[in-house]
Symmetry: C2
DNA sequence: GTCTATACGTGGATAGAC
DNA sequence: GTCTATCCACGTATAGAC
């Protein structure tokens, strides 16, 4: 049946977050006004405050949700160290390619988080890195990998993989599968597997 | 002899750029006001307009100067392809480690450039990438390197190397020389050199 | 060259009617 | 739940005195 006129809580909330995501990614958090977000949704600025206590919470919720998804979906350890590394590389590229706006915000808007929110997001990012480093450490212990320092190798691999998002386009010269295969080849060699 | 009272054009100009560099890197272009820059220099906001036509030019001049330095100082082709790649890796890490603020701005504030300014900076960045790709292509032609696609390898290597700036600290566990040696080892292997 | 003063727009957030 | 109206702080940039 028809709802009370003007009652759209369940649909407007997600639309507010979607608009904030899109505009933050396109123009940057600092350059996006609450009025602009409201305009994108089709309401007045004051109405946004039914869905978020303030602009900062909007940013934090987007980044928090993104990091939670990342940690929830990352592959858990199955198979050999080499299998796990390959799964990680493939997951990372696919997950990030699927969410360019979230990824862009997660990297570019860290400095616009309040100190407490920054600490929380950093802890999640650190857990993701630790997961990859554990894979590299296991492989080292088994003599499968050969890197001088697992922490540095972790950061190097993640930086290299995340870089795909700065240039990849679905309609470009190479498909994402081809790109992924090439990155996997480079990562594999970089950690000392022929 | 004593200059006219209040005449500091030759010293204030560089101080304005230094203040803008520092504050843009710390807080982001959009979050830094002309008043804040003036406060850092020790003048009133209106006085800044003796040194820059507007805030946008301040950003562009910083990025432009950085890219010009990068291109002027990058190693020109000497020695074997492997030598040139090693020189490039070492140069990139050292150059970027020496200028964390400039590098941060050059990557984070691209979207705050006007369209014309963005095009100009992009062209310079592209020239830098092309230099590395030429090294990789030469090495491929000589059978020294083994990568599936030189353009992708170029972007992967640069992303990996630039990532150092996000975590390296001079007082940390490893010296920059140790870090550089490890990155060179990974890059060398990644492009197929045992 | 720098200052004070100001024009003028826009920001986040809130109050109260409907 | 959304609207209009508004508060008040702050933004860039300029004008004119010194």
């Amino acid at each position: 049946m028809a709802r009370t006129a003007g009652s759209h809580s369940d649909i407007t909330g997600p639309r507010v977050r979607a608009a904030a995501l899109r505009l933050f990614a396109r123009d940057g958090y600092a350059a996006v006004s609450m009025r602009a977000i409201a305009g994108e949704v089709g309401v007045q600025a004051g109405a946004l405050y039914n869905y978020t206590p303030d602009k900062q919470s909007l940013l934090y919720d987007l980044m928090r949700g993104h990091m939670d998804n990342l940690l929830a979906e990352m592959p858990k350890g199955k198979g050999t160290s080499l299998d796990q590394l390959r799964d990680f590389v493939m997951f990372h590229i696919q997950f990030h390619a699927d969410r360019p706006d979230e990824v862009f915000i997660a990297y570019m808007e860290l400095r616009n988080l309040s100190p407490e929110n920054f600490t929380a997001i950093e802890a999640l990012r650190r857990r993701y890195e630790d997961h990859l480093e554990a894979i590299l450490r296991d492989g080292m212990a088994q003599g499968v990998f050969d890197v001088a320092d697992t922490k540095i190798a972790t950061l190097a691999v993640i930086a290299m993989l995340t870089g795909v998002n700065t240039w990849f386009s679905a309609g470009g010269r190479l498909s994402l599968d081809e790109v992924t295969a090439q990155y996997w080849d480079m990562v594999r060699k970089a950690v000392g597997v022929l």
